[in-house]
């Protein structure tokens, strides 16, 4: 099993959700995040005074999938989140030891 975490632009959330639904991914966790990568945020100007806003609002999506679905899911997220402009975000994937469904106590791929 894999945990896929994606940091994306907030306005791409709907596209990513549609793309995941289209390939049969039913569960996800979405949270608000802030941060920056190489873009180092942006500059805002108030009455001529410049402020560098280096923590930019982002959306974090977490999805748990079994190993066979992993590459397809990763690809779907990247394609749906991409605008080809700076600040599109990052997606990463790590191995998961186990998953438990709270309601039933099922473990492993049955719990996804």
């Amino acid at each position: 099993m894999k945990l896929i975490t994606a940091i994306i632009k907030p306005h791409r959330l709907e596209n990513v959700k549609e793309a995941l639904n289209a390939i049969g991914i039913n569960g996800m966790t979405v949270s608000e995040a802030s941060g920056h990568g190489r873009q180092r945020g942006h500059v805002e100007v108030y009455r001529g005074a410049e402020y560098r806003i280096d923590l930019v609002p982002k959306i974090r999506i977490e999805v748990i999938v079994d190993d066979q679905e992993a590459e397809q899911t990763l690809g779907a997220i990247v394609t749906a989140a991409r605008t080809e402009k700076i600040g599109d975000g990052k997606v990463w994937m790590i191995n998961l030891e186990t998953v438990v469904r709270v309601r039933t106590g099922e473990r492993g791929t049955d719990a996804i």
Partner: protein
């Protein structure tokens, strides 16, 4: 009171309500510009002015500002203390008399908003108790004399600026605008910079609030300026349209200036430019033609947009730019009268330099402006120093860093706290608790 003019009275009382609304408008305008940890304190500094100045005004303030001149045009007398003798008394020229108490109320709203203006200069860093003490001292020692100089017409023996020198100031370019700008400069020099000035991000936390406040100020300003005609007349209409024109033009040139210099026209710039235009036309609105108002508004927007950026160069923390907007804007208006005043706009005014009146009016405007600025700066500096040395002016540094809303007022403006931010004592509304309750209902 048989000689009371009903239309004039109705207009002045209505205008009083309009001007009073400027102070809560200012509270929102300023409140949105500070950081979210200080917004309630910022609003309270304005709101408390409505309380403190009202009491000061009723007891002695009005009398000292508008009572019979005590000699030299410097200050009034104590004849109207407590206002008992003002009941059922008329004031004003024959045919345009209004109840003296209507005039008392109208002028009170000026005293309130002028005092509240100063709070923007020292945002985020002063003790609330010291601010209360400061307001009492400042309104009596600075505002009251300057209001007498500019507004007390007593047949040539009243305030020295308007009634003796003959400088023109329709609604308070000196006593309100240059006064608040010069006093703000003295205050920030004594009180000092916010902790983290030029280092921490101090960007406005709520621009819609700023725009709402600016809108209320614009609305109230129509009463401020047109009400200063003290009559429901053609002159009031001239002041009304001139105020609209200059406010609109100030907003336009400020954002044009920003677009050229910074690349973006901002909402904060539009709000600030509107205020700058309104400030500049305040002394001039009853003395210039609509085209004169247009030029004054356009100039004020650009000049003030430039002026507010100078504080970083000069190194003083006038937090919300009272000096750059009100001091400089007021000066633009006072000097603008010397150039654009026209007898066709007001037959009891004068012609300025561009209307064949020569340079003498401009000279008087310069004298009035400089005298006001000098007096306001000097006396405010002394008051602030005394407060600094005795009861202290600055908030505790820990409180300043934590924010004055929780430390001084024991309140938070916005309950957006997550798991870690909410308090558990005393119950009350809390987003996370609401979420938990809703989720429990769904399960049942």
């Amino acid at each position: 009171m048989d000689s009371i003019n009903g239309a004039d009275t109705a207009w002045v009382m209505t205008a009083s309500a309009l001007v009073l609304l400027m102070t809560p408008g200012l509270a929102l305008f300023y409140g949105g510009m500070v950081r979210s940890k200080n917004v309630l304190n910022m609003i309270m500094m304005s709101f408390s002015a409505m309380g403190v100045i009202t009491v000061v005004w009723v007891l002695v303030g009005f009398s000292l500002a508008f009572g019979e001149d005590s000699g030299g045009g410097f200050i009034g007398n104590l004849s109207h203390m407590g206002l008992t003798d003002a009941i059922n008394q008329p004031v004003g020229p024959e045919g345009h008399q209004i109840p003296l108490l209507a005039f008392v109320m109208f002028q009170l709203t000026f005293a309130i908003v002028t005092t509240a203006l100063l709070s923007g200069a020292i945002a985020d860093r002063v003790k609330f108790s010291s601010w209360i003490v400061f307001m009492v001292a400042w309104s009596l020692l600075v505002y009251v004399p300057l209001a007498h100089w500019a507004f007390a017409f007593q047949g040539g023996t009243g305030g020295w600026i308007s009634d003796r020198l003959g400088a023109l100031d329709f609604a308070g370019g000196t006593a309100v605008e240059i006064n608040s700008g010069a006093s703000a400069l003295a205050l920030v020099l004594v009180v000092g910079k916010r902790i983290g000035f030029r280092h921490d991000s101090m960007r406005p936390h709520n621009l819609p609030l700023v725009l709402l406040g600016a809108g209320l100020l614009w609305f109230g300003w129509l009463g401020f300026n047109a009400g200063s005609a003290l009559s429901a007349s053609g002159l009031a209409a001239t002041a009304l349209i001139n105020t609209q024109i200059a406010t609109a033009c100030g907003a336009l040139t400020w954002i044009a200036f920003e677009k050229i210099r910074d690349g973006h026209p901002t909402t904060l710039g539009a709000a600030s430019g509107a205020i700058a235009g309104a400030v500049a036309i305040t002394p001039a609105c009853g003395f210039v033609t609509p085209l004169g108002a247009l030029v004054i508004g356009l100039v004020a927007g650009a000049v003030c947009a430039w002026a507010v950026s100078q504080k970083f160069r000069l190194g003083y923390d006038d937090s919300l730019d009272v000096v750059g907007v009100h001091g400089i804007g007021g000066l633009v208006g006072m000097l603008g009268i010397g150039l654009f005043a026209a007898l066709i706009a007001n037959s009891s005014g004068a012609n300025g330099l561009f209307f064949g009146g020569g340079a003498s009016l401009l000279g008087k405007q310069v004298i009035a402006s400089l005298a006001t600025a000098f007096y306001a700066f000097a006396v405010t500096w002394i008051i602030a120093k005394i407060i600094m040395k005795t009861i202290g002016f600055r908030a505790n540094p820990d409180d300043e860093i934590a924010g004055l809303d929780t430390t001084i007022h024991a309140e938070s403006a916005y309950d957006f706290a997550g798991v870690a931010g909410g308090g558990s004592v005393g119950g009350g509304h809390h987003p996370l608790r609401d979420l938990i309750a809703r989720s429990r209902e769904e399960d049942q």
